[in-house]
Each structure stands twice: as C-alpha cells, then as structure tokens.
C-alpha cells in the first residue's frame, strides 16, 4: 500500500505546477471564505459584547419616551426601586472621530453590570470627581489620542468606540444635565409596586438591535465570501480533475497489480485530505490576513451605516479556524467527488489510452444547458414570488450559477459557428482547436464570468447608489447651516438672534414612536418652501404639503412603505394620532422606519420634544460669515454648527467607506478568477504539446503557434467578458431592485457606466493575457527536442 501511495504521489513530484495550483486554489478559496467569516465573527462578537455592556443582556431596563429626568431616578430610589441610572450618547471629538459615552453610577450599578475594576479606591475617586475618568478598550484609547476628553484609562471588556464614565461627567460632556437615558433594574431586588406613568419596563435582550440591523450587511459579506469560495473551488476542481485523468493509466496499472478499488479510492482520499489540510492551514493564515486588512473598513462601514461599533483589530478564534479547515476539506471533497467516483468505478479492462478528459460531448453540453435553464427558471420564480433577504440571495446565486453553467454551452455554439465560417486551414484549425480546449478551460472561464459579472454588477450597484445618494443629499440637505444647540435655553436665544439675520430658521424635531408594531422615528416638519421645493418624494398625493401642514396627513419613508406595503392615501396610526399617508420619501441614511408629521401636530403629540436643532436658510454666500458670527455671539463649540458642505462631505465619506470592503472583495475575486485562468492554462499547456507538435511539424513556427495560443485565450476571455456584461447588469438590477429592497428597504434607480466596463474589460483581458503569458512563453521557448519527443515517445 505504501508503494501504491508512493506511486500516486510521484505524479505530483513530476507535476509540481499542478500541485501548486491545487494548493493555491484551495488556499485562496479557504482564505476568502474564512476571511469574510472572521470579519463576521468579529463583528458579531462585538455586537454580543455591546449587548452585554452593563449586563443589558441580563438586566431589565426602565425606559421612557426620550430621556428620563434625574429626579425620577431619585424618586424611584426613594420609593424602594433598586435602579441605577445610565446615560448614553456620543461626543464628537473632531471631523473624523466620535466617542460613544456610557455614563454609569458605580455605587448603585447592579452587580451583573459592573465591568470595570476600580482598584483599591484609587480609580473610584478620580472616576467620580471632576474631570472624571473614561474607561475604554485599548484600541479606543489609541483612537482617542489627543482628543479633548477627560483622562482615559485602559479596561478590558468594553466595546470598541465606547467610553465608560461617571454619569455626572457624562451628563456634562453630553450636555444632558439632569437627564438619564434609562435605568437598570437590580435583578435581585423585589419590585415595590407599579412603575409611575410614562415609564416602561423592558425585559433583558440578548440580541442587540444592532445585530438585527446588520444581519443583511453580514449576509452580504457572506454571499461575497461564498462567491469567492466557489470561484476558488473551480481551480481546485480543474486541478484535481486533471491530475486524476492524467493518472488514469497508473490507476489501471495499480488495479491490475492487485490494488482494490476501495484501497485505491481510500489512498486518493487520504491524499486529498492531506492536501486539503495543508492548503486549509495556508488559507486560514491568508484569510486572517485578508480579514485583518479589511476589518478597519468594515468597522468604519458598520459605524457609519448602523452606528455599530466593531473593533478594527482581529481576535483569533479557534472555532473559526476549525470551521475554516472544515470548509477547506469539504470544498476539496466536493470538488473531487466526481473524479473519485470515476476512480472507484474504473473498469479494469478499458483501453489505457487517456481519453481527453472531460470530453465535451454533445450530451454533456446538453445536460449542462438543462441545469442552467433550471437554475435560471428558479431565479425567475424567486424574482416573482420570493420574499426576504435570504430569498434574494438565493435568487442571486441561482442567476449566477445558471449563467455560469450556460457559458460553455454558448461559447461552444459560437465557436462552432466560427469554425464553420472560417476559410483558411489555419483559421479552421484554430477554431476547431479552441473548441477542443473549451472543456478544459470552461471552469476557469466560468470563474472569470462570475468574477466579471460580480464586478460589473456590484460596480453598477455602487455607482448607481452613489449617484442617487449624491442627488438625494443635495435635495435632503437643503439648509445652508445646521445648528445643534447645547441646550434649550441657548437654542431659543439663538433662534431669536437668527430671526432677523437668516432667511428662515426651521426647527428639526424628533421623537421616538411606534408604527405598525415597530419602533420608528417621528419628525415634525415646518411648512416651508425649503421642504416644498427640495424634499425628495417618491410618490405623493396632490397637494401633499398642504395636507401635511393640516396635521391629518403624514409622510413616511420608503423603508417603512416597502416593508409594510404602504402607498399614498393609505391610513396610518401612531400612538395618539391617526391619519393618512400623503407621500413617501426616499431616505438612504439608515434602515429604520421614519414618519413625518406637520410640526404643530408633532408638538401636540410630543410637547416634551426639544427644539435644540435647527436648519438655517441663508444666502449661500452669507453662510460662512453667519456661522462665524453665530459662533462668536454665543461662544458655540465647532460641532454645534455644521455647514451643508461639511455634512455632505461627511455623508459621502461614510458612503464611500461603506462600499470599500465590497470593492476590495471584488478585486480579490477577480484576482482569484485570474489565477483560475492561469492555473487552467498552465496545466493545459502540458497537454498541448501533442496537439501542437504536428501543426508545428507541418510548417508553423513556434512563434506563430504562441501568438495563436495567446489569441485563443484572449478570444475566450473576450467571449466571457461579453457574456459577463448582460449578466453583470442583471446582477446589478437584482441588487438594486431586490436585494436592497429586502435588506435596507429602499429601491434605487439603475444607472449604467459603460466607461467602467471598458476599464474592466481592459483589466480582464490584461489578466487573461497575463495568465496566458507564462505558458505561451514556455511554448515559444520550447526546444525542438521537446516537440520531437512527441513523435517518438509512446504516450
């Protein structure tokens, strides 16, 4: 048996390139998959940690609509409620940085919520007394370098981007004096009766809102990881298939020498497991690297889009490593299953002549076409009747896989036509030969198709989104200046001061509400031309603005409308209000539901809402000067006043970072597809000699043959590129019109960017040329003796 194994392994010694490709493909597939998984795991871990902050996953909370007055806290304590106040908010450090502050009261904090060591009194004292002390994770400390904050101290177990601070200091920093966000209830203490009016007991919640909100984002990443994995497996499949086919005579000899089919299959399986583990370990290392490189961008995305804090550094999780090795093993076995099955059922007496592996018989092509059709029909059915994010991704998968399977069928058809149309002998031979190459290259071409289509699709989606988003920002951010006053009194004074100096000063007011059983944000909108002219409406009743001002009509955002299938004219009900929908507006800022009421009706419902934020209209040329005057007059910190351009810039920056990861994964996938191409061409080049030698002998120079080989590769890549274009656009459409709707609740118009396609096309052809360059160069440099061996050797 050892002899048999040695014989089997000797193949790899003679074909180190094949081995390298097999391992590389497997390692890359594992790397991208496990890289994405590592990112997801890191993010989920920090959501869990955030959910567990202050024991919120185990402690009930008392909340109110909006902040709770501090007196309420004292009253509850004095009534015997064992509650502890918590205040949460975000302080802006500078243009780029902000810190989420959690203010706690350490003396009353229930035991499950205590997560900082104060030491023997030496930390408690500075913690409690001005200027206070902020406990934060090490990386948060590093990020807050130079920030104008109370002293920071390192502590473990605090979510990234979060600072734990005494409640008194937090109130001061957050400008929320006399207020608390919610109260934590000591789980061990009895509850002395009913809660006062307006307070609500919220049971412990092990899953944070953030985790729910970000689900679709992570599903997105997972889908990308899966795509990369699939592309990588194409390499593995072709390398294994080739190696098995080339060893077919050896298998037969071994069988003839008495090795049982079971033993042989077992040996091959062992060999594959060995390779899978080797490549899996390499892939894990690479995946860790990929994840570590991508994580900062992912973290920025999650922070920008969902306000979810994820550390920028990666922890090593053994479970993740095990899963990565598992997927490498699984991928290898799946890729090899066909080959293994064939070996196990190898007839002993069939001719030893190597059949051209994966002969593209008509029947095989037909079968493939049928499978493709089935998948595409499934995609169509999902498009019509599917619902939910998962269905949307299955639709994507079916579309991509179906199209990929269809590609060789289409290319074979085109090549047949070309061959028929060809006149000269060389042209005819060229097409015929290309057709014959197709089965060997089709997996690599399918990988390339997927990568290109993903590139076009995602690129189109992102660019469409960017275009829409920019336009939307222009409409939505119609005020020249945005004011967020530190407190109500200052706000009132500023509003009075601005009255004669600005064209309009409109309050921006919001409250938390509930609509159709889900939490939503309620805004009050003043009746003003700024909104009438600019607010981005998607669908509306006639006279929408008068209706809104009247108080009996509301605006809802697209997310809410889509989720609940609402249309203008539909009735809608909020706590304390009932009316109808006047219009639906686009809202790309966040995935949550929003309702807008006329400002009078808003204040009738929420008299407690603060008027601290204002939008200021002023002649654009005057904006900067007015901002300066305002700052000087009220001694306002920078962050209280933001001009339109800065806000837009900030929003766009968030947007760009949101898709930075997608772009990076896109490039990586394309890279893997390029490698698949290279791998296939390299292993095929070894088989090419017998096919090329007679043509060479009949009078074609090696240089000419090399040029033809290059042309063949480029033609196939071009064909794939041409096929990728409609597929990519279909993908973009699905992303924009289906996935986005399911994941975020908004549907975006699709824009096409042909210039991007040209760039991508050039890139793809470049990659194909590069992939072909090595084997072609090797061909051009062949010594005649190598070719002549073909004529002499018994193959």
């Amino acid at each position: 048996m050892r002899v048999a194994l040695a014989a089997l392994l000797s193949h790899w010694r003679r074909s180190p390139l094949q081995l390298a490709m097999l391992l590389l493909g497997l390692a890359l597939a594992t790397a991208l998959w496990s890289g994405v998984q590592a990112i997801n795991a890191e993010a989920r871990a920090s959501y869990a940690e955030a959910a567990a902050t202050l024991g919120q996953d185990r402690l009930a909370r008392i909340t109110a609509q909006g902040p709770i007055p501090q007196e309420t806290y004292v009253d509850l304590r004095r009534a015997g409620w064992r509650v502890s106040p918590v205040i949460e908010g975000r302080v802006r450090i500078d243009e780029r940085r902000s810190l989420r502050l959690i203010g706690i009261e350490p003396l009353t904090l229930p035991a499950p919520a205590q997560q900082v060591e104060f030491g023997e009194g030496d930390a408690l004292l500075p913690f409690l007394t001005a200027p206070g002390l902020i406990f934060a994770a090490p990386e948060t400390l590093a990020r807050m370098e130079g920030a104008d904050l109370p002293p920071l101290r390192e502590a473990q177990g605090i979510p990234p981007g979060t600072g734990l601070i005494d409640i008194g200091q937090a109130q001061r920093l957050l400008r929320m004096e006399g207020l608390v966000s919610h109260l934590l209830l000591d789980p061990d203490a009895p509850r002395p009766g009913e809660l006062p009016e307006g307070l609500r007991l919220v049971p412990p919640d092990s899953e944070s809102d953030v985790a729910r909100l970000t689900d679709s984002f992570h599903l997105n990443l997972t889908a990308f990881g899966l795509l990369s994995f699939a592309v990588g497996l194409f390499i593995v499949h072709s390398a294994i298939g080739l190696a098995f086919e080339q060893r077919r005579p050896m298998f037969r000899t071994l069988r003839a020498l008495g090795v049982t089919a079971r033993t042989l299959t077992g040996l091959l399986l062992a060999e594959l497991v060995l390779f899978a583990l080797l490549a899996g370990v390499a892939g894990l290392a690479l995946g860790y690297l990929v994840a570590a490189l991508l994580l900062p961008d992912v973290a920025a995305t999650l922070r920008g889009l969902y306000g979810a804090e994820v550390p920028g550094t990666l922890a090593f999780r053994p479970g993740w490593a095990a899963a990565g090795l598992g997927i490498a093993l699984l991928g290898t076995l799946v890729s090899a299953s066909q080959s293994l099955w064939r070996v196990a059922h190898l007839p002993l007496l069939a001719p030893a002549q190597p059949r051209a592996w994966a002969v593209a018989s008509e029947r095989a092509l037909l079968r493939q076409a049928a499978a493709a059709a089935g998948l595409l029909i499934l995609a169509g059915a999902l498009l019509l009747w599917g619902r939910g994010v998962v269905a949307a991704f299955v639709l994507l998968a079916a579309l991509l896989l179906g199209a990929a399977l269809l590609l060789p069928v289409l290319l074979a058809g085109v090549l047949r036509l070309a061959q028929r149309a060809a006149r000269g002998p060389i042209a005819q031979w060229f097409w015929a030969d290309t057709r014959q190459q197709l089965p060997g290259l089709s997996l690599a071409l399918m990988a390339l198709l997927l990568a290109l289509a993903a590139n076009i699709g995602v690129g189109t989606m992102v660019s469409s989104f960017r275009l829409t988003f920019t336009g939307w920002l222009d409409q939505r951010l119609a005020f020249e200046l945005y004011l967020s006053a530190p407190d109500q009194v200052t706000a009132d004074r500023i509003a009075d001061w601005l009255e004669p100096r600005a064209e309009a000063v409109l309050p921006i007011v919001r409250a938390e509400t509930e609509v159709l059983g889900q939490p939503a944000q309620l805004y009050g909108m003043a009746d003003h031309a700024t909104y009438r002219e600019n607010w981005p409406l998607l669908a509306e009743e006639p006279g929408v603005w008068d209706r809104l001002a009247g108080g009996d009509w509301a605006l809802v955002n697209e997310q809410l409308a889509r989720r609940e299938r609402l249309a203008p004219g539909d009735p809608i009900r909020l706590p304390g209000w009932e009316g109808r929908i006047a219009a639906i507006y686009s809202d790309y800022g966040n995935p949550s539901a929003q309702v807008i009421l006329g400002i009078d009706r808003f204040f009738a419902l929420h008299p407690e809402a603060e008027r601290r934020r204002y939008g200021i209209r002023v002649a654009p040329a005057r904006a900067e000067a007015l901002a300066e005057e305002l700052r000087a007059a009220f001694d306002l910190p920078d962050e209280t006043l933001i001009d339109q351009a800065s806000l837009k810039g900030f929003s766009l920056q968030v947007f760009e970072r949101t898709f930075a990861v997608t772009a990076a994964l896109n490039v990586l996938t394309l890279g893997v597809a390029g490698l698949a191409m290279f791998a296939s061409l390299m292993v095929l080049s070894g088989m090419r000699l017998p096919q090329l030698a007679p043509v060479w002998a009949m009078g074609l120079t090696k240089a000419r043959l090399a040029r033809l080989e290059m042309l063949r590769t480029l033609l196939l890549a071009s064909g794939t590129l041409v096929a990728a274009l409609p597929l990519g656009l279909a993908l973009a459409w699905v992303l924009l019109a289906v996935v986005n709707v399911q994941a975020f609740g908004w549907r975006l118009p699709m824009h096409v960017f042909p210039l991007d396609w040209l760039t991508l096309g050039a890139l793809a052809l470049g990659a194909a040329a590069l992939a072909a360059a090595v084997p072609v160069r090797r061909l051009a440099r062949l010594r005649p003796a190598d070719l002549l061996r073909v004529f002499a050797n018994e193959r």
Partner: protein
Amino acid sequence: MRTVLVSDPSERLLSLEGVRKSYATGEGPVQVLAGVDMNLAPGESLALTGESGSGKSTLLHLAAGLDSADEGRIVVAGHDISQAGDTERARLRRGTVGLVFQQFNLIPSLDVAANLAFQARLAGRHDPEWQAELADALGLTACLHRYPEQLSGGQQQRVAIGRTLAARPRLVLADEPTGNLDEATGDAVMALFLRLVSQTGAGLLMVTHSTRLAGRLHGRLQLSAGRVA
C-alpha cells in the same frame, strides 16, 4: 554499403555532409549521428534501415528541418538549412517537405477530411480531386467525418499518409509508414508513395525494417552507430 544513385549535386533534393547530432540525457550527452553523408535526388526513393537507436528518426527529423544538426551541412531543395532560422525551416516544412511520422500525429480537433486537406492547404496545393482519389485508395472515404480518436490505429496511419501525399511535397520523409498496416494495405500505400515519386519527381526517404518493402525502393541506406554503413 553506400549507394549513390545521383551524382549531379545540382540534382540533389536532399544532401547531408558530415552531419553530427547528440542529445543531452540524464547520463550526459549521447551521440546519435556521428557524421552522416548522404544524397537524395528528385524522383529517387531510398530506404533507411538500421537497428533501433541507430539514428534513423533523428536523421529524418534533421532532414525535415524539425531540428538542427550540431555539425555538418544539410541542403534541402537547394536551401542550406544548417544555419536557417525557425521561420525559414517552417517555410521549408510547409512548402517542400512531407512527413509521415512513426506516431500518427493527426490533429485531434479536425476530422479526417480536414486532416487530409490540412497540409495541402497550408502548402497552397490543395487538390480536392487528388484528395478524393487518395481517400478512396486508402480506404478512408467512409470515415471522412470522423475524428482521429474515433479511428483505429491503422486508419490513423492511413490518414497520416494521405495527409502527406495530398500535399504533393517535393521531399517525402516517412518513418515506418506501414508499420501498423496489414501487408495488402502496406503494399497499396507503397504503391501510392512510388506513384507520387514517379509522377511528380518527388524524393522519398523511408525508414523501414521490412526488406521486402525496402526492395521496392531505388536504394537503401543502412545506419549503424550513427554513421552510414
């Protein structure tokens, strides 16, 4: 024995002078040809015999311009190819030489008809009638639209011969062309070769082990230890 039938150098179709060739192997260089001189005139046919490894195939390959000699001069149809580049050799192979390999070396992606026509079309001498006649004579008419891998060994051999004959090359170099054929077919093939030689004045250099076949040619060249014996 050295047989020279044509003494006029201008009449030489193929001429080798002091040709040496060795190949690098794992155990060091092995000399295959150790100074070969020979000539072949138009319309002349020679049998090349010798033991296994005596350099017959190598001589054929050098004469076809597939490889270059280490030393010596090789002139084909008036062109000295000893110093010729890749392009010039390719042109020679395409226009002047016809090779029948020991292995069949058909183009796997083309069907029999296309394989038969391939070299003729490359050489610009494609003659459908002649090809049809050849196909008929070689018994290939029934399998013109099959692909090489669907043919038996003998059929493949006949396609390879047909392909060379179809191009009507001035110099035919054949390496055991009838090795896979039964005697009757082998005789028919020989007849075709000789017909080409006599009708077009082509030269034929054929490696063969069969004394019977060798006897049907004008002369015989025996290689032994890399030299003409």
